[in-house]
């Protein structure tokens, strides 16, 4: 079963570039990716650029409204995601707990609806 791991964090709490904490944070993602590969877990995902780059779109009365900014203005932003294919929620939660940003942010795990595009 596929699960999406959504990584939320307040950018203010992320380790600063060039510090040892930053290196450890990046290395944490490296070892999670290596573990997923070593365990043979089908996985995909990406980090996202900052919410300053986000654009939201909605259709109202047949008219496209385009707005600067993310879906909701919150302190914690969606910063990246994984989609992993594992047998059950326990397995998904074990990988989710290895996401380095869980140390200062929140990682949400959601099962994917199978056989759909959206």
């Amino acid at each position: 079963m596929r699960y999406m791991i959504l990584i939320y964090a307040d950018p203010a709490n992320e380790p600063a570039w060039g510090t040892p904490a930053f290196d450890a944070w990046v290395a944490g993602y490296g070892s999670l990716n290596a573990k997923l590969a070593a365990d043979g877990i089908p996985a995909s995902g990406s980090g996202l650029q900052g919410v300053g780059t986000a654009t939201s779109v909605r259709l109202r009365g047949g008219k496209v409204e385009t707005m600067d900014g993310p879906f909701a203005e919150t302190k914690e932003h969606l910063g990246g995601y994984y989609v992993i294919d594992v047998p059950d929620l326990d397995a998904a939660l074990r990988y989710a707990a290895l996401v380095p940003s869980a140390a200062f942010g929140t990682v949400e795990v959601r099962p994917v609806v199978e056989n759909t595009v959206v």
Binding site: P87, D88, L89, D90, L93, V109, P111, N115
Partner: protein, 390 residues
Amino acid sequence: MRQDRGRLLAALIARLRDFQLAEEALQEALESALVHWGRAGLPASPQGWLLKVALRKAIDRIRSTARGTRKSADLALLARDEADDTEPDRIPDDRLRLIFTCCHPALDPKSRVALTLRTLGGLTTGEIARAFLDAEPTMGQRLSRAKAKIAAARIPFVVPGPEDWADRLNSVLTVIYLIFNAGYSVGPIAGRDLCTEAIFLARLLLQLAPDQPEVEGALALLLLTQARAGARTGPDGQTLPPTRQDRSLWNRAALDEGLALLDRAIARRAPGPFQLKAAIAALHSADTPPDWPQIAALYARLHDLEPTPVIALNHAVALAESGQLAQALAQVQALCPQLDGYQPFHATRADFLARSGDSTSARSEYLRAIALAGSEADRTFLQARLTGLE
């Protein structure tokens, strides 16, 4: 019958992987048992009969509704189980898996409690709703949401492995303890006593997972607390601390069983929060005055494992009773931001202030505690203490 129901439900969920379907199928099987057994007499193996009929009902439901996208291979497997001549002693006991699933941390804590009482305790939705002062439809929705999440998020129906065991067991024991506390604070409602339910569940867990010191500790804690329940209020309705209770009202058998369980647990040399809480309860039940320095030491260890403000408050009480009033008062003052509005916090602070000779501050703290008191017994107790200040 209650044991049988939980066991049958667990066996059905293990095969069907669907709480709702398992419950409906078992209900149907019980209904046909009434008709069939009345006519043909009791079958050689009632449990085996019920399991088989319930599986058949479930298969019928799956076929007729084409529920979800269940593979035909699954159905074939179920049909094979259904065709099997199951003897009652050959129904494997899947209740340990069931209790771990019901108490899974991915479920909301209140839903864990409700689902455990529903599936393992066999309480009806209405009974659970009444025990938690909820409307029945609200509780029904809570239960459906929990069952739907188990299915949709695929919460596994397994006993956790060694790497997760301690945390997950603690989650199960916490659910049982919450059930007990709910029963302890409200008393029996409509003939159902949640304290009895919690003790039933703890005994069941001990039977399914024997030799686990934390399970022994949790059952000991419930029994030691329950043993004193009959003596906890005085003749005028006020709450009495163990030292002032009439010990002839204590349930000696429950006390002895609790103490023996605690001894067994401690001998395994793997301490945990429930054993520490049981040890504290045991010291409160001793025939001699309580050993407060020992109680304070146990609370300090408990606070290392569970650093909550309520445990820090209890630690302070034990310190004060051991003669370390100044340290206790300082510790309590520091808890104000976290515990402001919590009745026992204000009652404790009032008591410490009164003992340090500050009766003006003690008075205002007692008034605050009385305003927050949840029961008449607590109000009477606090009012007496306030009057005693004069």
